[in-house]
């Protein structure tokens, strides 16, 4: 699977850079979430944004994975 992803990474990285700005907007609420439940809220917002890429399967899956990575970090860093 890794090898397959590597083949596509060059194509995907360009598109990823374009959505980087959008993602950066998502980072802000994730990082500033201080209360319990805010990580869930940020995740829901991120998934909502990802749905916009639903028909671009590769991009959608990448987006979803990075939403999940944001959730994992949010839980680790901000919640006891």
């Amino acid at each position: 699977m890794i090898l397959n992803i590597q083949k596509h990474i060059k194509k995907i990285s360009l598109i990823l850079m374009i959505i980087l700005t959008t993602l950066t907007v998502i980072v802000t609420p994730v990082v500033s979430a201080r209360e319990e439940g805010r990580c869930e809220e940020a995740y829901e917002n991120c998934v909502d944004d990802a749905v916009g890429f639903f028909f671009l399967t590769g991009l959608f899956l990448n987006y979803m994975i990075y939403c999940t990575a944001g959730y994992v970090f949010c839980k680790k860093y901000l919640e006891k």
Binding site: I2, I5, Q6, I9, E40, D48, Y66, A69, V72, K75
Partner: protein
């Protein structure tokens, strides 16, 4: 002749008697923390929200500061020597700074929304980027040609991926033997000098050790939990609380595990296991932390003031 034999036997006896003390590893029954350094205060702008820390053999301390979009270098006294980086998507720039690994020569910095690891020299000068095509949950630098990362996988077996300096997947270290629901095989990990892998599951009550041939040596539950609470969030069912947040090894091979939400003192309790997986002791950090780091001199680093402060502790080992 007899006296030589007597001397030789006495010598052997002395070696035999002293061996446990000469060759035994430090196996503490109790650990007390003594704060030796504190970097960043609530009323200064040294650190804003640090995430990753690494200490080199010259005792320089390197920190990623997510809210300041920068990589920072401090001396052993905690003086800020240099700061590099800014917000952006270019080389040497950051969007969501995360973890930090170091080798003798370089620093390896992860960014949550960039599929790469940025490499800096010890003067914080950007060198190059290595494409890593998976989101990085934890990173350990085994050498400049072996970058180990744990990631999030779905409908696959949990694996640690080891990439070379060009970003090519060199090998995989499979640690789970069955496919698990999303996020349930997220782990923090560390390798000892012999290549044994230690890992703590973030959302399962499981701490494990594998030998370099990927054979599981032991598996431990410290919290006595059978099932972890999961909730439906945006059509996905996800775990909502961490069990174990981070792991680190000391120079004697003891494993330090930072507990999460289910520990008595949330995100403060640290469990210490010997290399055979026996729980030796538990101690509590003065403040909640997302990570623990142990340097080559066995000083422990953790967070305070929600990421504004980095604390360094001397660990005082007691036998009783």
């Amino acid at each position: 002749m007899i006296s030589k034999k007597v001397i030789f036997l006495t010598f052997l006896l002395a070696i035999f008697c002293c061996a446990p003390f000469l060759f035994s590893k430090k196996e503490p029954k109790k650990i007390q923390l003594e704060e030796v350094l504190s970097i960043g205060k609530l009323d200064d702008d040294t650190l804003f929200q640090w995430v990753g820390v690494a200490v080199d053999s010259n005792e320089f301390i390197y920190v990623t500061d997510a809210m300041d979009y920068s990589l920072k270098k401090f001396d052993a006294q905690g003086n800020l020597l240099k700061k590099e980086g800014r917000k952006g998507g270019g080389p040497g720039e950051f969007t969501a700074l995360r973890y930090l690994g170091n080798s003798e020569q370089f620093l390896y910095v992860t960014d949550q929304y960039k599929p790469e690891v940025q490499v800096f020299d010890k003067d914080l000068t950007y060198q190059r980027s290595i494409i890593i095509p998976v989101p990085i949950v934890d990173i350990k630098i085994l050498s400049d040609d072996e970058i180990a990362v744990s990631t999030i996988v779905e409908a696959q077996l949990g694996k640690i991926f080891i990439f070379d300096s060009k970003g090519k997947a060199k090998r995989e270290f499979q640690y789970s033997d069955k496919k698990l629901p999303l996020m349930m095989d997220v782990v923090s990990f560390d390798f000892d000098l012999k290549g044994n892998l230690y890992l703590a599951y973030s959302f399962q009550d499981k701490i494990e050790k594998f030998d370099p041939k990927q054979k599981k040596l032991w598996s431990k539950k410290l919290l006595g939990m059978k099932e972890v609470k999961r909730e439906k969030i945006a059509t996905f069912v996800l775990p909502t609380k961490y069990l174990y947040k981070d792991v680190a090894l000391d120079s004697s091979g003891n494993l330090f595990v930072l507990g999460g939400s289910y520990s008595k003192n949330q995100s403060r309790d640290v469990y210490v296991l010997n290399p055979e997986g026996k729980l030796l002791t538990t101690f509590t950090l003065p403040d909640t932390s997302h990570c623990i780091y142990i340097d080559h001199q066995d000083f422990l680093y953790s967070r305070a003031n929600e990421g504004i402060t980095l604390k360094k502790f001397k660990m005082k080992y007691a036998d009783s």
